[in-house]
């Protein structure tokens, strides 16, 4: 069935117009980052002489790097920890299933449904009393646990897709469990593990409930740093834009790279 040419042309124009409208705020932010503060609040225009002044200004406040580093440490630290805890668990669920496995998986999913605000008070008080408030360790612990169910689920679906014969063959050749995991499972499911890791990094990087409530200065990641621009005295659009662009750029790229596998993780395998 062929659609007439003009119809296809119109569809393309419509789709592109919608895509550009949706993307516009991001594009506009990226452009504003290259404007002077005066140009940033002038009438909107695509024509301006680009300057790096805002980027330099944001970096000159040495604390930008501190916040960025906090984000990196927290996002990658919690992801690594979650993977370490989740891999054995997902392995046993996929390859040594017991009658309890399904129930355990569903229970893990259900812990994700607990709204963070419902446990804000206890976590805040526990962190206050153990000195974890405003520490990277505290944030890493929260993000690890927050992402653990999704990470286990995603790894489980990837491990399950692996043909069992391959592992059987390894076992026949006398491989121990550890060897089996190291030399067969990990290399074969590396793409799946990588996209699971990327999803966990994205979720931790953008998390904005715990980061705003559990950190103040020392351990504040970029989400909290950007929030500090909301005070009226901190209203510098070009600097806000420059800082925001740097804060979202790496994650945007990660998101583009993993969009397909991400669906699996975000819907707990219910949509493939």
């Amino acid at each position: 069935m062929t659609t007439p040419r003009y119809k296809r042309f119109l569809l393309a124009v419509l789709a592109w117009a919608i895509a550009l409208i949706i993307f516009f705020p991001i594009l506009w932010m990226a452009l504003t980052g290259f404007k002077t503060e005066a140009a940033a609040i002038a009438d909107p225009s695509f024509v301006f002489s680009p300057t790096l002044e805002s980027y330099v200004a944001v970096h000159a406040r040495a604390d930008y790097l501190k916040f960025a580093l906090n984000s990196v440490v927290v996002a990658f630290g919690s992801t690594l920890l979650a993977l370490l805890i989740a891999i054995p668990s997902a392995y046993s669920m996929a390859f040594l299933p017991t009658p309890r496995t399904k129930g355990t998986l569903l229970w893990m999913l259900s812990t994700k449904m607990l709204p963070p605000v419902g446990v804000l008070m206890p976590i805040y008080l526990l962190f206050r009393d153990t000195g974890l408030l405003d520490t990277l360790t505290g944030l890493i612990i929260v993000y690890t646990l927050m992402n653990l169910p999704i990470v286990v689920w995603m790894l489980y679906t990837f491990f399950k897709d692996l043909p069992r014969d391959i592992l059987e063959a390894g076992r026949m050749d006398g491989a121990s469990t550890l060897q089996e995991v190291r030399h067969l499972l990990l290399p074969l499911t590396l793409p799946g593990i990588a996209s699971t890791g990327l999803l966990a990094v994205i979720l931790s990087w953008n998390e904005s409930f715990w980061s705003l409530n559990l950190t103040s200065s020392d351990a504040a990641p970029l989400t909290a740093y950007i929030a500090s621009f909301s005070s009226p005295e901190g209203l510098f659009w070009a600097k806000l834009s420059a800082a925001s662009t740097m804060a979202i750029a790496p994650i945007l790229v990660f998101g583009w790279l993993t969009q397909k596998q991400m669906v699996r993780g975000l819907t707990f395998g219910a949509v493939k």
Partner: protein, 313 residues
Amino acid sequence: MPGSCPGSPLPTIAVNLMNKTRAYGRTVGGLRSLSLQAPAVTLLLLWMLVPLGMTLWFSFQRYNLLMPGMTGFAGLENYEYLLTDPALWSAMGVTLLLVGWVLFITVVGGTLLAVLFQQDFLGRGVARVLAISPFFVMPTVSALVWKNMMMHPANGVLAWLANLFGLPAVDWFSSLPLTSIVIIVAWQWLPFALLILLTAIQSLDDDQVEAARMDGAGPIAVFFFITLPHLKRAISVVIMIEMIFLLTIFAEIFVTTSGGPGLATTNLAYLIYIQALLDFDVGTASAGGVIAIILANIVAIFLVRLVAKNLES
């Protein structure tokens, strides 16, 4: 002694050994799977039960960090205080409006866009990537970009556009505060719905569509009788996952309106935050937390059921 004769008993021992390991293997396997899962399960159990138990406990206590002297069992006082406070009902209303509108916009919009972006056109891959991008932007950035560069009543792009058409500029956050929040949140979640539904629509059988077309079905009939039924499950997954996140939207409100003007944009999550970290009223905040947990669980039960069904197939 059988042992003195090395030839014959060895196979028996080997067979015995094999039987033993097999019988043994089952329990060892069970133990092994238990020990492999133990760290994840234990941590999640603690992460769930300890705070949940504490929230429940606090919700029945008189406990305010600013009034250290006043402690003790409060019975249902905190709940009574909350449930008779008009702020709670206003926050419930705001929560429902926010969730309802965002769901409506993202599900209807996401379905239509999924159909559109499924068509074959030049640069489809790039257009898709652009359209799903907002989902990867951190909430504080989205909210501040919209608040300042888009919706600012004097220098924002929307004000400039309004001027261009000779319309008065809208002071978004003072005259339409909740609408503004809905726009920002919908902008973040429309790409999520699009991403999921686009994936789901790709598994639609082309032959089925072809056959329907042959039988004279127009594009609208195809959409309602083939595409929509095919997307039914994906749509329900989108609705439930969004609901869980939208019920407790926080950062977008925190950096734009701080719940105001008045209580116009204070949802349940923000109300609990005010009581917890601004008023330090642990008891009332915890009672609010229990209400939020109950609301989320009503949705969660349906989602878990749906996923469980999928796990069997």
